[in-house]
Symmetry: D3
Subunit: 61 residues, 6 copies
């Protein structure tokens, strides 16, 4: 049943996303001893003005 | 107090969203015995390259 | 592909949750013209000290 | 370790976001007695057709 | 309409949560020029075995 | 900056969680070409009465 939600900066290629969901699904299924079929991944892309570390926008780093 | 977050593929019409929030709010209030006023819904639309089932991007299905 | 996440106060019965996921799934599938099989629901229960409206904890209302 | 996720309507300026993440980080660190370095904020902007109160879309209010 | 979701380690007191939701709501309303009434906060508490930085569980730090 | 949120059924061991966060962090950093230091993972455990597929609670499967 795992649902994996990844929030990350915009701009990754489709190829990177394709590998990411494939590998995260395979490894999660292996470690949690669940079926790959049961795993869903959602990716939320945010621009550099929409995330911050330590109170500073990504835009200003 | 319920907050309902719906993550779904892009491309639904405003009319579909209007019916969706109306019906989900009415039914949730009825079942949970809470007021419709207290229910908030957030919709996150993701493109087909931003979700995956079983390790495969929506784009590749 | 819809994933529906419901955050609500603790204390609903299993019977209420059973009806909630059944009805939300059926109605969402109907309105979005998608299969019920593709819909996943996650419920997060929070205690009254873990949510607030207008800056006031549920505990203090 | 706090992660703060803010979902809000589209259209705020970068200046507002800059102040928001700065102030939320500073105040959260102070109240929770944690380091500002450990706090991450994510902002999700949604259009008026993607949120609802009491079953009514923001678009229709 | 802002919804603020805070994920943090277990163990804060009710008094800290009360101040946190009060201050975050007041400051967010001020900066975004919205009403405090429209702001909802949800707190998710996670144990030290349920979060990680840099691949290391909080439990192991 | 990636934040990874994993929602899964209760009951995994600390050892499984330790491996999960280690592997997901390492693989995500490699694929997205980002530093492991920048990756945060949050795990939300839900009981079998708090998730559903196709309108059926995990409890009833």
């Amino acid at each position: 049943m795992p649902v994996i939600q990844v929030t990350m900066s915009q701009g990754r290629t489709v190829e990177q996303k394709r590998e990411l969901v494939s590998v995260l699904t395979r490894e999660t299924a292996r470690i949690l001893k669940t079926k790959q079929d049961s795993i869903r991944i959602l990716i939320y892309e945010v621009s550099k003005e929409n995330w911050a570390n330590a109170g500073v926008l990504g835009l200003d780093m």
